[in-house]
Structures are given as structure tokens and as C-alpha cells.
């Protein structure tokens, strides 16, 4: 390394000129009441992980959640209509997901050809 090149330590510390500032994880100003619950805490409670859009991760989430619901649905006190509504919703979500996979597959086939 050249002697006159700034060291990594100097770059990291910004030569002592810059003081870090705090920004909320959800990109918004905190609630008026300091310490009030925010969206990140909501996500944490329900085990929701925010990440870059990815069809595989989305599909896996659909499979995991729907599998658990389907295994439990018969043990509930829900009416037949409610169960049917839940299943119909799952079908619409899976249908839309499959359409995206088919579209993705079509693009890949065209790229290979």
C-alpha cells in the first residue's frame, strides 16, 4: 500500500469530522410518544421479515403458512363457509404465484433460445 494513501481507519472515522446520526428503521419520524410501538415491532411480533422481492422466498412463505393452516383447519370451530373462504383465498394467492412462475419460465426459455 502506498504511504500517502489514506488508511482504512482514517476513511472509516471520516477524520473525526462526521458524527453519526440516528434514523428510524422504518424510514419515518418516530411517534410523538417516545417509545411507542412501531411497524418494526409489529413485524417482529408476528415474525415478518422484510427483504428484497424474491419469488422463491415468497412461494416458500406461502407453502409454509398454508401448510400449517391446512393442518389445523379441521380442528377449528370455523363454519364450512369460513373454511371455504380461506381455501379460496389460498387458491387465488397460489394461482397468482404460479402465473408469475410461468411468466418467469417463459422469459428464461426465450433467453436460452
Amino acid at each position: 500500500m502506498s504511504a500517502d494513501r489514506p488508511t482504512a481507519e482514517a476513511q472509516l472515522s471520516d477524520y473525526g469530522l462526521i458524527t453519526p446520526i440516528a434514523l428510524p428503521i422504518d424510514g419515518r419520524m418516530p411517534d410523538a410518544a417516545t417509545g411507542a410501538a412501531g411497524k418494526a415491532e409489529y413485524d417482529d411480533y408476528f415474525r415478518l421479515i422484510r427483504e428484497r422481492p424474491d419469488l422463491t422466498a415468497w412461494s416458500q412463505s406461502c407453502l409454509d403458512v398454508q401448510r400449517q393452516i391446512l393442518a389445523d383447519l379441521d380442528l377449528t370451530e370455523l363454519s364450512a363457509e369460513d373454511r371455504c373462504d380461506i381455501l379460496a383465498g389460498c387458491l387465488v394467492v397460489l394461482h397468482a404465484t404460479l402465473e408469475r412462475w410461468v411468466t418467469t419460465g417463459g422469459h428464461r426459455r426465450r433467453e436460452v433460445a
Binding site: A33, A36, D44, Y45, R47, Q68, I86, G89, V92
Partner: protein
């Protein structure tokens, strides 16, 4: 519990430890996985609402009707999913679920208004409905599209009624955690009125 993973939070026992009702594990699973399914439905609805808005703006009526009907199915699914998520006794809610969403496990004011996908869905829904009604009043909407819209607004109405029923099942007097939080804030503000000057050395957290 997620509270044990939050930085700076005390690691405490489970809410209501020592008097956890039977079927507690099943209740937690339904409450949390039911909400996860609700979020998947909401994400799909947000996607369809964007599709529907585009179809409406470009007058693609068949696509719009299909999107509206799929949205109706998802709205009814979301309604039923909320019933699934709350398919346990009021006693279990009071002794296990509700405390898990309140201090010291979580910050005060925890509530469904913090649901990002739901907030986005309501915004998009309002925008679509406003534009839809404008075209309907102008007589530009085909009858079949108007009927699909009416089916969707009915599903939204059913969802709102169901939400009220679920709330009444668990909190008959409407004592939501958010309402309690704001009431506590008002009481704190009232009691602090005489001390007009704020000392920055106090209350730093």
C-alpha cells in the same frame, strides 16, 4: 415470544405464566400464523389493486372485472382468516395473547394500525373506489364491471362487521391496547401540567 429478542428488553417469563390456559400453544399458532396468512392475502390484494387500477385507467373491462372478483375472494378470505386467527377462548386472549402485545414484552400502543400491508391496501382501495365511482357516475362503466365492484364493496362491508365482532368477542368494552396507550398519555400529560419546564436530564431513554 419475540419480546425476548428485542434489544434492551428484559427476558421475562411467558405472559400469564403459572396460569396459562389449556390449548395455549394452539392459540398462539392460530393468532400468529393466522396473521401471517392475513399478510399474504394483503400482499396479493395490493398487487391486484395495482392491476385493477391500471385496467380501469386503460378501460380494459374484462381484466378489471377479473381483478375485482379475485379481490372479492381475497377480502372474504381475509375476513375468515381473522376468524381463524381468533379461534380460541376470550380467557386465552385475556391471559395469554393480549399481555404478549403489551409492556413489558412490547412497547405501549401496539396495535393493528402498525400493519404495513393493511395500511397500503386501504390507501389503494380508496384510490380505486374513488376512480371507479367517478366513472360509474359518468355512465362509463359496463354493467358487469359495476356488479363486480358492488360484490367487492359488499365483501369489504362484511370484513368491517366481522372485525367489530372479533373485537367484541375479546374486548367487549372496546379497550384496545392503542386506546389504553393514548388514554395513559393524556393522563400523564394532565398530571404533568404544573411542571411546565422540561429538564433534559430527566426521562432520557
Amino acid at each position: 415470544m419475540s419480546g425476548g429478542q428485542l434489544s434492551g428488553r428484559p427476558r421475562l417469563g411467558r405472559p400469564g405464566a403459572g396460569r396459562v390456559p389449556a390449548g395455549a400453544g394452539q392459540a398462539v399458532l392460530r393468532w400468529k400464523v393466522g396473521h401471517q396468512l392475513f399478510h399474504l392475502h394483503l400482499a396479493a390484494m395490493n398487487t391486484l389493486l395495482v392491476d385493477a387500477r391500471r385496467a380501469l385507467e386503460s378501460r380494459r373491462w374484462r381484466e378489471l372485472t377479473e381483478s375485482l372478483d379475485q379481490l372479492r375472494v381475497l377480502y372474504d378470505a381475509a375476513t375468515a382468516t381473522m376468524r381463524y386467527a381468533s379461534d380460541f377462548s376470550p380467557a386465552t386472549y385475556e391471559t395469554l395473547i393480549r399481555p404478549s402485545m403489551a409492556p413489558p414484552y412490547l412497547s405501549p400502543g401496539f396495535s393493528g394500525v402498525l400493519n404495513l400491508e393493511h395500511e397500503q391496501m386501504l390507501d389503494r382501495f380508496r384510490g380505486l373506489r374513488r376512480q371507479f365511482k367517478q366513472l360509474q357516475r359518468a355512465g362509463e362503466l359496463p354493467a358487469a364491471v359495476g356488479e363486480a365492484g358492488a360484490r367487492l364493496w359488499s365483501a369489504q362491508s362484511r370484513n368491517r362487521k366481522n372485525h367489530v365482532l372479533v373485537c367484541e368477542k375479546f374486548v367487549p368494552e372496546g379497550r384496545s391496547l392503542l386506546k389504553e396507550h393514548f388514554r395513559a398519555q393524556e393522563e400523564t400529560a394532565d398530571s404533568a401540567q404544573p411542571a411546565a419546564r422540561h429538564d433534559p436530564r430527566e426521562g432520557e431513554q
